[in-house]
Symmetry: C2
DNA sequence: AGATTATGACACCATTTGGTACCATATCAT
DNA sequence: ATGATATGGTACCAAATGGTGTCATAATCT
């Protein structure tokens, strides 16, 4: 009945290469219907649709019906969670880079 | 025989919450042996070890044997790939935030 | 030496993942 | 009205994932 409206982890959503490709395509195209998106992949429509569903569950994608087609759009907001997570570790690799630089300067 | 030396995607490696917890623990502790790490989790040693193997395959973790224990250390470098990936989309949510800000200012 | 500890290496298992094919339904074109 | 197109939904499947338990081995302690 209802969509079950599952909540998906953004880290899981971006783990798959096909889904990252989807994100990129949508970022560059603003809004696209499923059949056009499918044309850019090797896999079938059902598989693409499933990936889009997962992205939607992570709220990385929004969609609306226009006539018989469903158009998808990127919603990059949730990527900020990834950025925030990364921020904690940034200092580590910056420190390491600095240390390495110092070593190389000898 | 040989380690099979599998190459793992960093996006896959960070997709699992337990592995993100591992990364955090190692970031805060510098170097830890497996049994001490395991003590911080609900799951068994074997499972923790498997997660560490995956992190190692993504080169997010290095390890060395000291006596009978294997000590693990974080190697944050590969996280830069994630940062670079994110950089492409950052503008989108910054633009959106700016648009939203403009709307709110009316 | 003998017991304990730390780990690696497997075999095993339930569930999830990523894909397919197929059927039903709604919309559009002629 | 008929046919083609676009999508949703379901059933199905092989492989991967995330766990477990068990056994073997190496290192440490008394």
């Amino acid at each position: 009945m209802s969509k079950t409206e599952q909540k998906r982890d953004v880290f899981f959503a971006i783990a798959d290469p096909s889904r990252r490709k989807l994100i990129r395509i949508l970022a560059d195209a603003d809004e696209l219907p499923l059949h056009e998106i499918t044309a850019k992949f090797e896999m079938g429509r059902t598989a693409v649709s499933k990936h889009l569903t997962i992205l939607k569950e992570a709220d990385l994608v929004r969609n609306r019906k226009i006539g018989r087609e469903t158009r998808y759009q990127l919603n990059p907001g949730p990527l900020e969670e990834v950025k925030d997570w990364l921020a904690y570790y940034e200092k580590f690799w910056i420190e390491r880079a600095a240390i390495l630089k110092n070593i190389l300067e000898d």
